[in-house]
Each structure stands twice: as structure tokens, then as C-alpha cells.
Symmetry: C2
DNA sequence: TAATTCAATGCAAGGGAAGTGCATTATTCG
DNA sequence: CGAATAATGCACTTCCCTTGCATTGAATTA
């Protein structure tokens, strides 16, 4: 088992108290979060610090960005099955219209998409919108 | 052949000079445009007017909104094959990483996407990113 | 240990896009 | 024509993203 400290160091990210807290917050969350979500969770911290921390995590490929169509960027930890640094990896995200949460479905792959002649597909961003399991089950 | 005036009236949109110009601008553009694009094309007009005109077109279902992941909302005219008022219609858009343009591929349908048990899919937003035909052909 | 260096953090400010309230102008209808 | 309603223009606000710069803190070296 790898500690968070080891994980950060393995990705060339200097370990600080703030970064450990932010990582734990992301890990505990099952859904993708906005910067404001993180901001509300850590009222003591400055927004800029959170912003740059997320950017650092993104550059070091332990976090990836999600655009679910709400207009606000969301972030989620990369998992084992999430090879988002690889361009051909096909992301699938689910956005719930009821609870407004966005979930990363790493084990659901996207089928091959056909594009017209002359077009070169490098990346696919797919967001399915609807009702999530929590909201539909009640 | 239907004139633009007739088309607007058929959709319960009052005909004004501004609206005709904006419609023509959208029709002449092959790609989806941002509000700023329209703003730059009509420097005389106020941004609010353009904003509300697009909103009106959207409500009357002659324009649809596209979220291509750039963070800026884009708009495109609905065509015959574009039944975007129907929730089950599957939009497919192509975003060129080179020229930064977004194209509406109405004749390319999206395959059925499987979601986990308990999830209800209502809508699918799919953006393929890569190089468009113009940029790849040179 | 003390001094130096570089990264992380915090504060302030700016920019862009979306959206709203209200007055003014234009259009439609009686 | 005159009244009512819609469209337009102006001003302003909010929200999110981003950057510059000063300060703090950690690590490295003499």
C-alpha cells in the first residue's frame, strides 16, 4: 500500500500540508468537484492556492479535468484505469440533472466514433446526462 | 424555397432587421460561433441584443447550443436533420484543435451508450476533438 | 547553524463571459 | 392615430478563471 506522501513524491510533487489535505478531499469524494467545492471545504485556504494545486496535480497527471456542460470546470482524481494522459483514452462521464453531480465512469469505455473523411479524431469527450443511481433509486 | 422572413414567422419570431442579419450570419457560417464572434461581426449592435436574439432563436428551436469543451458556449443553426428539440436526438460535434472551430455533424449519429444499472440516460453530449478536413488536407 | 535559494502560499487585481433591470425605441394592433 | 407590447441599448452585477507580486516556508549548501 502506497501512502499519499509516496504517491505525490513518485509524481514529482513536493509534499505540503495543503496538498495532502486537498488530495484526501479529492480521494474521499466519489464525484468530480469544482474549485468552489474545494474552496468551501477549506475556508482557511486561499482560492489561488487551491487553483494552483489542482493545476499542479493536473500537470503531473494525477487529476483530470471534466467539462460536463454546466459551464464550470470540474476535477477528479485519476484512477488506475484512467489513462487520461493518453490521447486515445476515451473518457466517459455521467452528469445527473437532478443532484447536479458528475461521476467518472472509468470502467465504461466509449465505442469507436466514425468521423467524415479528412477528419482526424484525436480525442473524444463524452458526457451522458440523465438521472444517477442514487436519484433514480428513490 | 422559404425566405428567412417566412422561416422566422413560421417559428413565431417577430421579424426585425437585426434578427435577419444575425440569421444570415449564422447561415453563412459553416461552423458553430460564439457570442463574441457575432459581436465582432456586428460592432454596431449591442451585446445584449445579440445575446437575447440567440436566446430567442434557441427557445424557438432554430438554433442549438454546443458545448465543445473550450468553456465558451457556441451556437449553430438547426438544420433539417437536426432534431435537437427531441431529447433522444444524439448530437455529434467536431472540434478542431488546430483552427479551433467547431463543426456540427448532423448526419453522423452517435451509437447507443451503455450506462451502469440504476443510471437513466436522457441526453448525450459528444465532442470529438482532432484535426478537421481543412487543416489536415494541407 | 546560518545563509542562500527556490518553491508554495496569500493578497490583490484584472479579464471574460453570462445574465439582469430599466429606460428608450420600434412595431403591431385596435 | 393612439395604446399596448415587444425589441433594443445602456449600465451594471455576478461568477469563474487567471496572473503579478510580495511573503512565507522548506530545502540545500557553505
Amino acid at each position: 500500500m502506497q501512502t499519499i506522501e509516496e504517491l505525490l513524491e513518485a509524481n514529482n510533487i513536493r509534499v505540503t500540508a495543503m496538498r495532502l489535505l486537498i488530495y484526501k478531499f479529492l480521494a474521499q469524494k466519489k464525484v468530480a468537484v469544482t474549485l468552489s467545492d474545494i474552496e468551501n471545504a477549506f475556508e482557511k485556504a486561499d482560492r489561488t492556492t487551491l487553483y494552483r494545486t489542482i493545476k499542479t496535480f493536473e500537470e503531473k497527471a494525477i487529476v483530470h479535468q471534466i467539462d460536463d456542460g454546466t459551464g464550470i470546470t470540474k476535477y477528479a482524481l485519476c484512477e488506475k484505469g484512467c489513462n487520461c494522459e493518453i490521447e486515445t483514452d476515451l473518457h466517459l462521464h455521467f452528469h445527473c440533472n437532478n443532484c447536479n453531480e458528475t461521476i467518472c465512469l472509468t470502467d465504461h469505455k466509449i465505442p469507436q466514433i466514425k468521423v467524415p473523411n479528412g477528419f482526424i479524431s484525436e480525442n473524444v469527450n463524452l458526457v451522458v446526462k440523465g438521472i444517477c443511481d442514487k436519484c433514480s433509486g428513490e
